[in-house]
Subunit: 188 residues, 2 copies
């Protein structure tokens, strides 16, 4: 139970329920999970190019010759790569920061792999850098820092749109988002 607590959103009660469930009703599943988890912990590292999670030195997206080298999408987490691949028809490359700038927690440009990003940009293939970093305060600061890196190399820097979520109602959107969405209105 103590060990299960390392899972996100699992408190003492959930941990107890999980433990008893596995012990009493699904030992086979528990064995398999333990084994797969042990393997995953040892074998899955980070892609040496884009820093996403990968079992190999270079991930599948990085070695895919059909992806467009001219576009580079910057995200915070490997989960963001997965979801963007699912919902968009983007065919460029990615770079995973693994978080956002947070000096108080000791997370600076080095921890986000920005030296690696700089090396990647210096290759000269990238023409558009798309910032898909979370629009939080820390994410904005990170975006700003990275956009300056792009501008120094005369790379076009774009940012995914921020505004009212589709299907949302104005009344339930926070003031900051609504104010931004209003100011950032588009010609139809």
């Amino acid at each position: 139970m103590e060990a299960l607590r390392c899972l996100p959103c699992v408190g003492p009660k959930s941990a107890q329920r999980m433990a008893f469930h596995l012990l009493e009703r699904n030992r086979e599943g528990g064995r398999r999970l333990a084994s797969v988890m042990a393997q995953a912990m040892e074998k899955i590292g980070h892609c040496q190019r884009c820093r996403t999670l990968s079992e190999t030195d270079l991930c599948r997206l990085c070695i895919n010759p059909n992806r467009n080298d001219a576009q580079l999408c910057i995200v915070e987490t490997p989960a963001d790569v997965v979801i963007l691949e699912r919902v968009t028809d983007y065919r460029g490359r990615y770079f995973v920061l693994g978080g956002h700038l947070s000096p108080l927690d000791g997370i600076g440009p080095r921890e986000l792999g920005l030296d690696l990003l700089d090396k990647l940009l210096s290759e000269g293939h990238v023409q558009e850098m798309i910032l898909a970093v979370n629009p939080t305060v820390e994410g904005e600061a990170t975006s700003h820092y990275i956009s300056e890196m792009g501008k120094e190399r005369a790379i076009q820097v774009t940012r995914i749109a921020h505004g009212v979520p589709l299907g949302g109602e104005l009344e339930y959107v926070d003031g900051g988002t609504l104010s931004h969405a209003f100011a950032d209105r588009r010609v139809l």
Copy 2:
């Protein structure tokens, strides 16, 4: 209790709690609420120009000579006017639809006051019509209808930005919004 059920989000339990609370602990408040509510129900009507809720024939925003006649913001509800006034520095006029097109519920152009909107546009003051209708399916259909009305009169039609809410995380945003936000990215 039965009568309290007409309030939004009030089910049988809430209604019972409210009723007992007023009866046992705050009769004075209950009396005042009953009186204010009765007055409001009788006295508050709709502005004859913009259709928002108003005690007078023309609302305060419509009679304010300092507002800009060249901009007209289209919203679904009077609550949207209140929130936009609070979070933006918009100084133009409003027009309140009172809902969105919904043929199955018998809500067509007439019910949304689009004849009144047409008359307002025909005065020739409006140069930009800002659509701040909810980005739901019905809202989009309504936006489309109204944008055609604007285009016929060569009025610029804009729409508030849709995308990832500020402070939100990509992982928790629905696929449709994220896909739209990606496609609609902005040059920084």
